[in-house]
Symmetry: C2
Subunit: 338 residues, 2 copies
């Protein structure tokens, strides 16, 4: 495939959403040495890279899903800042066994996410590579830097809440790897769990709503609720306690876990849910719940003076949250284990 | 290697230059979901990815040079906009045969370039990968978007000039691939040519000076002076003529070309020089020369009404510039051919 022609076709497939440039006017789009925008105040930038056979397998993931997930995972970091997504840049490493049609399918998956969030893909780079590599950079905006929510500003006494439900992405991965487990749930539930693994939806709206509702600190649930809560707590210099019984476990996760011979808690803590973990003053919870009505908010624990992270079980016992120990190993953001 | 510990060591090795944040204040550095800056007006963003055995070979390139070149090539795009470099983000795909020490060496090469240009590396991502992948995003700034120079705004009647000298990077690649060719030049010249291939220097200062001196359009010389001039002309809707005899060929390039049995013009047009090609009103050339004194400016051709790109030879004949035809093939930004 001709590189310049492929880039032209990728640009066409990615398109430019009608509301692109809403967060920051676009002065120079793709095709120059650099794209140029005029940010309204503060910008937030995050990068995320998916590598074939580390973060996904082509035997499980359609190329459309790979494109979807790469952009969604990057936007999830902007959601955790409460930023308004603006532009994205994509670097593709293309192996010989992915043809032009495959690249366009990947771009199509990315375009779906881009349209949903008004994100313009303004630039990129394509190259041959020994495996499929999708490196994404996303730029988000806010009127001022103090509107963006860090992970380091939680305080003891605050509540820890999470959006949506946990464990679906991990259960979906099990269903992709062991299709026979699908007998444990009805077909619609199984399809939904697989989709949460393949095509997660970043909680962009919820992130903005929580930032507006007084979120003290936020982080997205990529490495697992326990590990990510531990990171938020460590960055903020506080201790975190999570109540196992309060974790909002998605429908079907318990059944898949049982069929796989593992605990539902392990799946709920495995990660890749791309929900948001937020530290809030307890009195702000009702307003935050109202603001994120489309993406249910559950109080799952609290921040205390001290250090570390524990999960409290219904019988009163405590343990390190599943997923927390794995922080010490090379963990490739969930997905395919090393 | 522990991922979190590796990231901590990479951050330490990359450091933060003393003058970081000069172009745009840094509010949140690395370690959060996203980095946050406050751009002064307009921002320019560009991405560049180097893939092992496509853009470099570890048998020729020390890891320090790979890190240097990855950041330098990305900054060269900002130089071609006349932007003030601000921040960088780095995604590393690490194969099993590159150990922690190797990653730190790569980061050290990047840190050298970052320090030279006051660039802060504010974030990144590391992952296992089947080959070494270095994907870089750079963000540059200007007080307003109209201070940034596009490639599409050249006009017929303007002169085409280039900074510095051409062909050194291509000659250096030949010396790395065929060490016996080094007999054609003295050892110091050979070392200099190899360095231009391995560790190019982006023309950031010259780019800003040319933007200030009235540059109408700019592009950096990555794919070759002929091909890049053709791109500038096509984007601007004009025709470009280059005078072969006026190309500023670097010392030693003719000798290496002769020893390799190819023409000096072919090497001078091969690319990866990371010099700047600039379209200027002829009367602005003296001021532009004065402004870029540290990086000599040479008038090499002109822009005319029409379409296409030709190179004029001393005997009066014309040809498509070497490198121009290759635009139609999958060319991996010079370097190791497919």
């Amino acid at each position: 495939v001709d590189e310049f022609e492929l880039i032209a076709r990728l640009r066409e497939r990615l398109g430019v959403p009608e509301d692109a440039g809403r967060a920051a006017p676009i002065v120079v789009g793709s095709g120059d040495d650099a794209a140029v925008t005029v940010p309204p105040g503060a910008t937030a930038v995050s990068v995320d890279m998916l590598v074939e056979d580390v973060h996904f397998r082509l035997s499980h993931s359609p190329l459309r899903s790979v494109g979807h997930k790469a952009l969604a995972a990057a936007l999830s970091d902007l959601a955790a800042m409460g930023a308004d997504p603006g532009e994205a840049y994509v670097q593709l490493g293309i192996p010989g066994y992915v043809d032009e049609e495959g690249c366009l399918e990947l771009a199509g998956g990315m375009a779906t996410v881009a349209r949903t969030h008004g994100v313009a893909v303004l630039g990129g780079d394509v190259s041959r590579a020994p495996a499929l590599i999708v490196a994404v950079t996303v730029v988000g905006h806010a009127r001022s830097a103090d509107q963006l929510v860090r992970r380091s500003s939680a305080r003891a006494g605050q509540a820890l809440c999470v959006t949506g439900e946990l464990g679906a992405a991990a259960a979906g991965l099990r269903l992709l790897e062991q299709p026979e487990l699908a007998d444990a749930v009805d077909p619609g539930t199984a399809a939904g769990l697989r989709l949460r693994q393949l095509e997660p939806e970043p909680r962009v709206e919820a992130g903005r709503a929580l930032a507006g509702a007084g979120a003290a600190a936020m982080i997205d649930v990529s490495d697992g609720v326990g590990g990510d809560a531990a990171q938020l707590a460590a960055a903020s210099g506080v201790r975190v306690e999570i109540d196992a019984a309060r974790l909002p476990v998605a429908d079907g996760v318990a059944e898949v876990a049982a069929a796989a011979g593992i605990g539902a808690l392990a799946l709920a803590c495995e990660g890749e849910d791309y929900e948001l973990l937020v530290a809030l003053e307890p009195e702000l919870i009702p307003a935050a719940e109202a603001a994120t009505a489309a993406s249910r908010l559950t109080e799952i624990g609290r921040l205390l003076p001290g250090r570390g992270a524990v999960i409290r079980h219904p019988d009163g016992s405590e343990s390190a949250p599943p997923g927390f120990d794995q922080l010490r190993g090379h963990r490739a953001s969930g997905g395919v284990p090393p």
